[in-house]
Point group: D2
Chain length 308, copies 4
């Protein structure tokens, strides 16, 4: 057969499994997003449409991959935590990195018009992704604390910087110079004394970033789930019992099921069983919150996130 004499080139595909028993942290970042933000006239210091679009894309990814137990986003980056026992794509590094980056990107472009109805996308944006392994829960908590501390530092800086420029009439050069070497406290003071802004009153979304996680849908005493009953979360319901709904959500679940056979039958069946089991559990939805994830409370009240 014509093919066989060339098929040896497959031997150059080397295995790249990730160490088992470790948390897989996947982070993606916008590629040249300074320029992208300029081209699409993103509001400074924060553009709520762009942030909500990021959240939506992230939510789609979390929904598609049940082994993602937590996600955190700020600016043009998003981090996703896969449970440490995940066998997604047999833990093949390139497969996971490329597929998750691709799906996020696709969702971002796909949902763009919903968030920017009057701003057509001028060119296709892209993201890069990477995987980092963390051996213990402490590492994972410190990772997310690192990102949320970063959110805080950047946002305080940017908020003060753009106040100086937009309301204070400074040039960007002057504003940078004014802020060089200032402490947090001093930036708070500038905001408050000069612009009457109490930093802590600013939208938690900007100060804390976005935290996505699954939460069980509380039983509705009237006999149904009632995600909206006084619950503040922006949630996307997912009712696994209603099959064959032509929604994007049910659709993407099937898609993943189809992809799995390439991974080897045994793995596939195990994964399917695990998925089955999860489906029979309490229905859950994905919450998008702007909680503090540096302090203990978030984690203490959601032990499932790091558990296995």
């Amino acid at each position: 057969m014509a093919n066989s004499k060339y098929a040896y080139v497959r031997n150059f595909e080397l295995p790249d499994p990730l160490l088992p028993g470790t948390f897989i942290l996947f982070r993606l970042d916008g590629h040249s997003f300074h320029r992208f933000a300029d081209k699409h006239k993103f509001t400074k210091p924060n553009d709520v449409r762009a942030l909500e679009l990021m959240d939506h894309a992230a939510k789609d990814v979390v929904e598609e991959y049940p082994d993602i137990v937590l996600a955190f986003g700020e600016s043009d980056e998003f981090s996703f935590l896969l449970r440490k026992s995940t066998t997604l794509y047999n833990r093949r590094q390139s497969k996971i990195v490329s597929t998750l980056t691709s799906l996020f990107t696709s969702c971002y472009v796909f949902h763009w018009p919903k968030y920017f109805p009057d701003t057509p996308l001028q060119y296709p944006p892209s993201f890069d992704g990477r995987i980092v392994l963390y051996p213990t829960e402490k590492h994972v908590r410190d990772y997310f604390a690192w990102r949320q501390a970063d959110t805080h530092i950047n946002n305080l800086y940017n908020t003060t910087f753009w106040a100086l420029v937009q309301q204070g009439g400074q040039t960007t050069t002057e504003a940078h110079a004014a802020l060089r070497g200032t402490l947090s406290k001093e930036k708070h003071e500038i905001l408050f004394s000069r612009f009457d802004i109490n930093y802590n009153d600013i939208d938690a979304r900007y100060r804390k970033g976005s935290v996505l996680f699954r939460e069980e849908i509380p039983e509705d005493p009237q006999g149904g789930t009632n995600p909206s009953s006084g619950h503040k979360s922006i949630v996307i319901e997912k009712r696994p019992s209603k099959t064959e709904e032509k929604t994007e959500s049910s659709v993407t679940n099937e898609a993943q099921g189809e992809a799995l056979p390439t991974e080897g039958a045994t793995q596939n069946q195990k994964t399917k069983k695990a998925k089955e089991k999860r489906k029979q559990q309490q229905p859950s939805r994905i919450a998008i919150q702007h909680y503090d994830i540096i302090k203990d409370e978030f984690w203490d009240t959601r032990p499932d996130i790091l558990a296995d």
Copy 2:
């Protein structure tokens, strides 16, 4: 500083440089595209709109990354060859895999409406990508021969299969059974005797896949480049001398320039110089052809592709 006590988590990011001096072959595949094709009613056995959309996305990627010297696509997969001396992203594997997969995906979704004006995208499609290193020119040629032989085998099968179903009135099960174990010759015979199809008359696009490569734009005696003068290639011109055009093409070049500073200044400057140099060379455009790339001729007449 709040950040510093957590910043140690960065130490878990391990380097992943690809071996220098080897050809980098990047291949991406559609994720669950059987289902995607069904949902969007792709024509069987080949949907020219879907194939042209793939080509367009691939072309954008080739245009954005001057170190891609060849690309080959069939069905829902595309392969890209980076020159062996490339220092793109310091040859970091995850960075290259994720960025190229992301850009391709983004272009695919972005250009969808041009190719499917009457078929709205129902959900965000995704792709997975991988890198394989090949040490020598022979390996590279054999890799592309492997893919094109695969194109041939698949297309002959699919063409015959769908002829039996669509024109022969067989069920898909019957058609599969009819083709089990048949040789190429026998499939040709079925097509010809039963459906009056001469396989070799079928569009080369389907039989050979798509081959993308740079070619110099011949000097126009009237003082300009003239890409359309009797040249059969579907080409996208790229005039590097006209700066500040608000085209996607010039735009994406800047984008790449912006991304580079994270790679370290020295590398950046070197890369910039190399890019500068290429820009001063003969203007080139990206040709999309359906040539035979198994035989020598394609390679013999384009020695630049494998040269360094």
Copy 3:
């Protein structure tokens, strides 16, 4: 300079750091030791000289590398656990694997005449080594349990097998056939009823393998350390306070000090300080025991082994 035009070949040396924060388990195995044992007429089923030689080589390795906190040996294999925070050789995989394998091999050949005074070494034996990373204490405990369970299974089989051959007059083929499919209990029964051997009375060294770990030298009320006072361990004292002794032990510490500068000055100084600190602590010695390391007791009474 003549050298510079070739020095680019160094760029092909790729980094290979091991994930931080994980236990590094290094295991080595004799290469073709069936043949080696035959050539040197090792006693069957166990040759105490060969096992003590393995222990001695392992002890030398543990002594040389303070970050090795536990070692376990059986037959011609030995496992070494490095503390999870170790920065030995900047956690470079090839450097650690090759150096530890080399030192063990060297010690094995070097000490051979002490254990085989009447059997000259006929050819140079070799070992192969590998590193496995384990994220948590549980994995480490299960690893050592796996090896010790293996020791038990192999030794019970071999003991019964060689009893059948040496005392029972069976051929090796007959003995293999007799044991095929037998349970542990049945092997115990064969040993007891036919050869009057109570398996549990056999030397713990054969049944449990060798466990090497550091233990503090208890203060001697008479003003010195007294390692032999009623203590059963076979210990090799190491008195860090007596510098400049021309012993192998002091020597090897210096040797390691010399090697470190290549790792970069900062790392080096940190490592030196850590070493200094350890030296000022309670003097310790390396115990060689044949304890059960599957049950909790060993670990519960020595929390330092897995602590960091």
Copy 4:
């Protein structure tokens, strides 16, 4: 079975195959050999006994592994080139690195008394090893040129330095100061004018290092091979036709044969066949020479070294 509940820890052993189709370069270096040389009173600037011992150990390694086609040594380092098609140990990196380092170390300690009959080994020396992959013949040649250029530079420096100290009565500090910044030419001049040493008359072993390679044993017209007839090489014959000789050489071949079954039967059989075939070829021996391997001649007259 007791073992099975722990056996999952094997899943943490990750594959580490080296890219096929590339030259595998394995280099080892003495660990803390400054100190080792001092302790054993090596002659300065070169100790011929130590160099010959290195050569002997390297020769044993080359003999044991037929896929090693070239080796080069200087001072306390040795480089080994494996043919690019080698499937030794399925190209597993740790296995190759550790086994070759171990065998070399073992041979070094084993043969020590032959070269240092009056200087007992005071402690076990060790080596570290690493693998570097090179895609093309040019890289390989440049690698060896790099090492031999290094030999020249180091030896010229050391020869001049020790002449200043040993014959010129300078302290080592004075000698270092005297040589700081000097060019090759100036060192030659110092040697010649002050110490009457013509550098080019110095033993080629010191100036060029040691080159090991296989060469065919010329047919002896009298009916036997005659390696000593006017041939300058220091050679170790290997007569593959005389089986069952109880020599180290035949022995080590068997040893390798035994090790292979762990690699999977198919591989094993292929390797065995390849070995068989090589055995039937012209008998060869390993030459140890001090040739120039920077210039073309060495390579042009021995095309087999880089061929596959």
